[in-house]
């Protein structure tokens, strides 16, 4: 990973920019072409877009939302009026599924954004300063890394009673997931900071925050993007686990994990309650992992083999 960062930074080095423009592709174009040729990633991207549409636009188009209605008969198997059946309390499962996917996606992307922002600045600062600062900052990271993510988040959500709104859940998961990003970024920055362009910036009087934000982080963009993508999948599974345990998003609001949790005892008697949210969760995680894989291949300058 360190060599990866090195060669990319050399390419982005402003001094060498003129040389590169003689080539017929810019770096961004190369990356885009590589990504579009990664077939699983492209299919996943389309699929994820469809799921996002289903989650965010779907509720406007579908007759029922995720709440209980007196008009909905309880415990009906899938039918024309309710394509995915109904729950015992009188929910329309399709409506629940839309809302659940929406909450899940909102939590996951917020976690990824928050953790990446905090984690990459933290990791870059530690890597840039080195020495005692680095040792201290990375020990803090270690503390967050040894606590099981789901357990810690569930304990806080359960104990503080904050586990109701999606934004609170996202914040709690972020607290325990930024450390992985910090570790990745530090590794990249450790090799970047020895490069000439950083020395040049320092010689021309740039301050440490400027160097970190304008020189180090942009050059570590590749690994950061990949880690952030994979974190989305981690966050989805963490949120689903919390909600499954009843410590995440609470009724009357709904999330996919919570749907599975409440259908746990009905796997064989009322399968329409159990399987759809699980399949949707698997689909979302699968597509995101494939996109992450495609991004990794596209952003890795060592990768020469063009994928079919």
């Amino acid at each position: 990973m360190s060599e990866n960062g090195m060669s990319k930074s050399a390419r982005r080095d402003p001094a060498k920019k003129r040389k590169r423009s003689s080539a017929d592709q810019t770096q961004l174009q190369t990356i885009l072409i590589r990504f579009t040729r990664h077939r699983p990633a492209m299919i996943s991207l389309v699929l994820l877009a469809v799921i996002a549409l289903f989650a965010f636009v779907g509720p406007f188009l579908w007759a029922w939302d995720h709440t209980v209605y007196k008009e909905i008969p309880s415990n009906q198997p899938p039918s024309g009026a309710h394509p995915l059946g109904t729950s015992a309390a009188g929910h329309d499962v399709l409506g629940q599924l839309m809302r659940g996917a929406q909450q899940t996606l909102k939590v996951a992307f917020t976690v990824s954004l928050l953790s990446t922002a905090v984690g990459s600045v933290w990791g870059a600062t530690a890597g840039y300063y080195g020495g005692r600062v680095d040792a201290f900052m990375m020990r803090v990271v270690d503390i967050f890394l040894i606590v099981p993510l789901l357990v810690a988040a569930a304990a806080i959500a359960g104990n503080s009673g904050a586990g109701t709104s999606w934004s609170a859940i996202a914040l709690i998961i972020s607290i325990f997931s930024w450390a992985t990003i910090a570790r990745v970024v530090r590794g990249v920055v450790l090799s970047l900071r020895e490069q000439e362009f950083v020395e040049a910036a320092r010689a021309s009087g740039a301050s440490a925050p400027w160097i970190i934000l304008r020189h180090l982080l942009p050059n570590a963009a590749g690994p950061i993007i990949v880690a952030a993508t994979l974190l989305v999948a981690v966050a989805i599974l963490a949120e689903a686990g919390m909600s499954f345990l009843g410590l995440g998003i609470q009724l009357p609001d709904i999330s996919l994990g919570q749907m599975i949790g409440s259908a746990r005892t009905a796997v064989s008697t009322r399968p329409w309650l159990f399987y759809p949210p699980g399949v949707l969760l698997v689909l979302i995680c699968l597509t995101i992992n494939f996109i992450g894989d495609g991004l990794r291949d596209a952003l890795d300058p060592r990768q020469t083999r063009v994928r079919r």
């Binding site: 606590v147 304990a155 104990n159 686990g241 699968l286 992992n289």
Partner: protein
């Protein structure tokens, strides 16, 4: 200063007193943890051993046959397993176990409970059968989750090693293919996996909680859930202390394993 006070409290934590529980004066956190530790450790240990074995085998096979059909299939299975929510998969396995029992007409898999006390005092073979019936499904569930990411790491590091100069040298010396792969390549390729597994212990503990809830085991997962439900902060702290210790111990073992695996690393 309150220094003396603090020292007193620390002294009391050491022999296993974790503080008062909100679940009544008769609920001793230390005893409760000790009672359940073996149940959970058994599940975590078994699934990690199986996951590790399977991950190394499939990772090496994937790497040796890179871009073959087998490699693509294994990769896809890995991705699928990585995307599976533990509790959902556990629910499916549980339902499948019940179906299987009905089909065979016999209680092959026990789908509920850890069965610790059912076979107490029975002959050793019966005890083993009982433990197997209860552990089989949860172990498979928990195994698959960590297996997925570990086999990916094993594949990557094996690929890297197979393209290295010293493996080429070993081949040039005329060593048999089998010897090159086992003694030269695999040994080095195991080093990155050691790190990943040590960190992954935290994830396995997460998975164990969810698995225990689905299969209704009375292990540390159940202990954790009850503690959260009762707002039992001291019990939670005791729990986190234990899981933290396990993860740190795993990392220590990984550090020591480096020296065994890599002849270049020596701890003086």
């Amino acid at each position: 200063m309150g220094d003396r006070n603090r020292r007193k409290r620390r002294h009391r934590t050491a022999p296993g007193e974790f503080g008062p529980s909100t679940q009544g004066p008769h609920y001793d956190i230390g005893t409760a943890i000790a009672e359940r530790l073996w149940t959970t450790l058994r599940l975590v240990g078994a699934s990690m051993v199986f996951a590790l074995g399977l991950a190394i085998i499939t990772g090496v096979i994937s790497a040796l046959r890179q871009y073959s059909k087998l490699d693509y299939t294994l990769t896809f299975v890995g991705f699928l397993a990585l995307a599976l929510p533990t509790f959902w998969f556990a629910g499916i396995m549980q339902a499948a176990g019940v179906k299987f029992n009905q089909l065979v007409g016999d209680q092959v898999f026990a789908t509920i409970g850890d069965g610790r006390f059912r076979a107490e005092g029975a002959p050793l073979w019966d005890q083993f059968l009982n433990a197997f019936a209860h552990m089989a499904l949860p172990t498979i569930v928990l195994m698959l989750i960590s297996f997925a990411s570990w086999s990916r790491y094993q594949r990557t590091s094996m690929l890297e090693v197979m393209n290295s100069d010293y493996v080429r040298l070993a081949r040039a010396k005329g060593l048999r293919n089998h010897t090159v792969i086992r003694r030269h390549a695999l040994r080095t390729a195991l080093i990155p996996l050691t790190t990943v597994v040590a960190i992954g212990v935290a994830g396995v503990i997460d998975g164990a909680i969810l698995t225990e809830v689905v299969f209704q085991w009375r292990g540390l997962g159940d202990f954790f859930i009850t503690a959260v439900d009762n707002n039992d902060s001291f019990a939670l702290m005791g729990w986190l202390l234990l899981s933290g210790t396990i993860v740190i111990l795993a990392n220590l073992v990984a550090d020591l394993l480096y020296a065994v695996l890599d002849p270049r690393i020596r701890y003086e």
